[in-house]
């Protein structure tokens, strides 16, 4: 099993902490999901930060702070430094948003910020596209994990470009790859794992469902099923039928 900067994850689900109907439901969703990682953010302190911090600590999972909403290298780097101090971790989910409607990463600034942060001792989890060249550049910048999007954040569309994600898996066989964003259903998460991805990061699909605790469990089971399926070496799809029941020995009855 691949590790994330030396940390193995027994459960390859990274679950967001935003948008739950209540803290109690968030807590239940995490426990049902078995997620190994919780993503968090930093926002202006208006009184709720310390309670939330206590709750996240009680989840006993790895904390992955993000730079959500950052549009420039400077603000992403500053946010990363603030996150390192507050959350006491070198991990940073590096988001550099380039497009308002699709929340597509600005990959040019992403590579630059990844280089600056890696040189400063951060362990960068870059939210990127499925572009192979950008992936190469991120690795050259010091990243040891890549997190391509499945589809735009919060869209729930699943894996928009399976071909590109397959190519990415084939291109970087030794690198831990995480599908980050776009997952809407457990089948999407299973799909990602069937392609050989090492983890799935999702938030909205669980938090905004009608029953987050139940959906969290569904995601856990789907990810487990997808991983097992990948390890079991699935058959190739084919265009024509092939009988599964033996032809030889069939009684002659017509």
């Amino acid at each position: 099993m691949k590790t994330f900067y030396g940390t193995p994850l027994s459960n390859p689900l990274m679950l967001g902490t935003a948008q739950y109907p209540s803290p109690a439901i968030l807590d239940q969703a995490f426990r049902n999901s078995g997620a190994g990682v919780a993503t968090v953010s930093l926002r202006r302190e208006a009184g709720a930060g310390q309670t939330f911090w206590q709750m996240v600590r009680d989840l006993s999972v790895h904390i992955l702070p993000n730079t959500a909403g950052c549009h420039t290298v400077k603000e992403a780097v500053t946010t990363a430094h603030m996150a390192r101090e507050v959350f006491d971790t070198k991990w940073i989910k590096l988001e550099l948003i380039g497009h308002t409607d699709s929340l597509q990463p600005d990959v040019f600034q992403l590579v630059e910020a990844a280089r600056i942060l890696s040189e400063d001792g951060f362990e960068v989890f870059p939210y990127t596209t499925d572009d192979l060249v950008v992936g190469e550049r991120l690795l050259a910048a010091g990243c040891e994990v890549l997190m391509p999007w499945g589809a735009p954040i919060g869209s729930g569309r699943g894996l928009n470009n399976e071909y590109a994600l397959r190519a990415m898996r084939a291109e970087f066989p030794e690198i831990p790859l995480v599908i980050d964003a776009g997952i809407g259903l457990p089948s999407h998460a299973a799909h990602a794992m069937e392609l050989g991805y090492d983890a799935v990061l999702l938030n909205t699909a669980v938090a905004r469902s009608g029953d987050p605790a139940a959906m969290a469990k569904a995601m856990k089971l789907a990810i487990e099923a997808g991983r097992l399926a990948y390890q079991a070496d699935p058959i190739e799809a084919r265009d024509m039928a092939e009988p599964s029941t033996p032809v030889i020995g069939k009684a002659f009855l017509s």
Partner: protein
């Protein structure tokens, strides 16, 4: 002295960033930036506050 704290104009007495946090009631896990630059907690006592400074105080929050 007038400063901008988390986007809002404030009149404060504090001379340093550490004093400012205390004056404005911040405690626990927060991170700080002055004029868009990160100020580590170890430097807050030494960091002087000047008229017009833009100060950000952030804390853990839900995120995806």
């Amino acid at each position: 002295m007038k400063i901008v704290l988390n986007g809002e104009m404030r009149e404060v007495q504090a001379g340093t960033l550490a004093d400012l946090l205390q004056e404005c009631g911040f405690s626990g896990r927060v991170a700080t930036a002055v004029n868009e630059g990160f100020v580590p907690s170890s430097l807050r006592k030494a960091r002087k506050i000047r008229d017009g400074d833009r100060i950000e105080v952030v804390a853990p929050m839900q995120g995806g």
